[in-house]
Amino acid sequence: MNELLNTEVIFLIGANTTEAHPVTGYRIKQAVRNGRKLIVADPRKIELAKYADIWLRQRPGTDIALINGLAHVILRDDLWDRKFVADRSEGFDEWREIVEQYNPKRVEQITGVKAELLEEAARMFGQAERASIVYAMGITQHISGTQNVLSLANLAILTGNVGKEGAGVYPLRGQNNVQGACDMGGLPNYYPGYQLVESEESREKFAKFWGVELPEKVGLTVTDMMDAAYAGEIKAMYIMGENPVLSDPDANHVIEALKNLDFLVVQDIFMTETAELAEVVLPGASFAEKTGTFTNTERRIQRVRQAISLRGNSKPDSEIIVALANKMGHAWSYPRGPVEIMEEIARCTPSYAGISFDRLETRGIQWPCPSPDHPGTPFLHKDTFTRGKGKFHAVHYMPAAEEPDEEYPLLLTTGRNLYQFHTGSMSRRSKLERMRPEELMMIHPNTAREYKLKDKDYVQVESRRGEVQTKIQVTDHIPPGMVFLTFHYKETPTNRLTINATDPVSNIPELKICGVRIKKIKPSLISK
């Protein structure tokens, strides 16, 4: 993230960094202060839009058109890195055919971004020696999320901004250990280290390593699990440290699904909305009470150290899992605790092979770290891509799953604010709560006027899936016709409104777009 200080141009898209990843936000602001250029693409007037040299206010869900448009101009004006494309990529010609269709005029029609502004941004990005792309959930939480990411990758390859200092693509992860959970195989299709469940070789390797037979079938994703539970196909769930009732789309559906289970065990540090539905609740430990490692968004593996003793009779989650395994008749034993678990991880996960607690004592290490003497890898794809050559993926713009219509005329988008986090189970139990104790739905002054609403009025927001109540904040932070809610507040469980349409590849739900309608209500209808 400090590499952003050395880049020439930062292209920030779908990331409200200063609220969701504030320290990365600082770096971007510092970079701008040091004379670096910033292009922001966001429908909302996020804080960094004020720092930007160019702010592209595209319509929500039109990112691919916008990105293809940028690529179009870069190609047209001959600002691309011919050598890099020739030496290091494939699929260029096919992709080029698609991109040629995205001329600035057409892109303007789809995205609402003025053709001249798009061209200016493309030139700024294309002319830079070193440029970086930063994105977050605003890119991924769409049914076209994977395509969005691929189109950004296309842009980076086209301009040769891959694998060199001060350039590259930086995805920002939401929760602190999203990266680690993925690395560790907390995914239905991957073993640790992204070794495919589908690959016989991997399966055999792990079967041997763990000394058991392994199931062949690729697993279900969260959304599919919920559907399967709803349909009665899944009978029991074990949920550790997650609160899908508030965090997942279409919350009513999630609640129904969980209620339909024969058995639900939830392991958490708080009685969350999800834990309420469980038959057994196991008390885990917070980050301050246990040892281990987290892997951050830069793939840096860093230590977590126990600072205080366990609360009451709670236990570190690893101990709970081990104890349960033993109860299930499996003689798991890690007497040296997380140190020993990491040793096992290193043995089966090539990118973590060189990691050990000792090495992490003073500083974290960025994977891949294939051996104990390897210093770690700050830049991926330095000389070659993981899969050999960088592939251009021909991707087309496609509309969102549920665009506003007559019945639900407003576009709801969701995100975070600075003082709260995720479903609020942590931040709301701290002094931060005083900074933002309640949901404030953002609504543009013009839209507010249409509905005869004033600042601090209360509204009911309804979608095809549910309804919530909230106070409003009238602001030009978002464009007319759009409203913004976070998912931090259980009093306003925003995900009752969202749609569980998912990206077919990543299965990430389209939390950023759905249609809603609003009506004014009395404050008494909302309770805390």
Partner: protein, 349 residues
């Protein structure tokens, strides 16, 4: 590279170094109050002055670039005399209730007074006194202890971008504070607490540490922030098995910088709402049970379902908030014991 002499010894250092950096890297400690790596060098406190051969005045080591052949004395008589006077001047205009100061024992002003044997000040006269501002939720502002190093001004402006503070008034009346001396809630403050962390004295202090323990009784545990994916490094301040605050740690790529969540969002850990015992729901009500009972119960339920429906009837959600080790064990549990790949987490949220 240039070669310079510090206290008679020859060193080769890169040409873009300052005297301070050159000294630091060679194990020579020059005292500083206003210098902070990464922030603009203002040369304001003058604590770091050194004697450079050929220069008519003492020069600030933090602000002066090295030049080839430079000869520097870092503790000469003139230097020490100047530093002693700077310290005497600072303490002459400082609320010296050190006995109960939260920074007692963790204060650069104290440390340097000790180092230069400044026991007291001959400069008795006017003293700037201000009421302590306790109006914001997170920290107090006790400007009677401010030494006007300006670091809070810089970190807020240059790192956060919030531009909350500036110097007000002139000369002896100078005060470092928010615009119009406003309560921080009325400003653009984002409660990142970075100003508190850079303050070298007791002028800015987290409310949570007040009267909780002397600095030397407080254990500082370096760890990784539990909130977002940036993974900032920070130090939990622990006293009597309780977290009382957070200090900056410079070992991560956050370089000691934090946001409101990392700095002030830790209290949930000690919330009374924390689950402390395993619970089993019986007749719609949760009952506290022992671990053995809970785990046996869970194991039996799982085994029964497994017998009836096999692995495909299970699903598990592991956690983006848990450690790598826990995630690893969880998926291993699902895959090797429940025999299903139905394991996922809210990665995408």
């Amino acid at each position: 590279m240039v070669s310079i002499k510090i206290n008679g010894n020859l060193y080769n250092v890169p040409a873009d170094y300052t005297i301070l950096k050159a000294a630091e890297e060679n194990g020579i400690d020059i005292p500083t109050l206003c210098y902070e790596e990464g922030l603009t060098i203002t040369g304001a406190c003058r604590m770091c002055v050194v004697e450079v051969k050929g220069a008519r005045k003492l020069l600030a080591a933090c602000a002066t670039p090295v030049t080839d052949g430079m000869e520097v004395q870092t503790e000469s008589e003139r230097v020490v005399s100047a530093r002693r006077d700077i310290l005497r001047l600072l303490i002459a205009n400082h609320d010296l209730r050190c006995l109960t100061c939260e920074r007692n024992g963790d204060c650069r002003l104290q440390d340097y007074c000790y180092r230069y044997q400044v026991e007291d000040t001959p400069y008795k006269g006017a003293k700037k006194e201000y009421p302590i501002d306790t109006d914001n939720h997170f920290f107090i502002r006790d400007y009677s202890k401010c030494i006007k190093c300006g670091k809070c001004v810089l970190i807020c402006a240059e790192v956060n971008g919030a531009h909350v503070y500036d110097f007000m008034e002139r000369g002896f009346d100078t005060k470092v504070t928010s615009a119009f001396d406003d309560n921080l809630q009325e400003t653009t403050c984002t409660a990142c607490g970075m100003c508190v962390n850079v303050c070298p004295v007791g002028a800015l202090v987290e409310k949570s540490v007040l009267w909780q323990g002397r600095p030397w009784e407080v254990k500082k545990v370096t760890t990784t922030c539990g909130y977002c994916g940036v993974g900032c490094q920070l130090k939990l301040k622990v006293k009597d098995d309780r977290i009382i605050g957070v200090a900056a740690a410079k070992s991560g790529s956050n370089l000691g910088h934090l946001c409101a969540k990392g700095q002030f969002g830790w209290e949930y850990v000690q919330s009374n709402d924390r689950l402390t015992d395993p619970l089993i729901k019986r007749n719609g009500v949760f009952e506290k049970v022992s671990w053995d009972e809970a785990l046996t119960y869970v194991a039996n339920r799982l085994k029964a379902i497994w017998q009836e429906h096999g692995g495909q009837a299970f699903a598990g959600l592991t956690s983006a908030k848990c450690t790598n080790e826990e995630n690893y064990l969880f998926q291993k549990f699902m895959r090797t014991i429940l025999k299903t790949n139905n394991v996922d987490h809210c990665a995408r949220l």
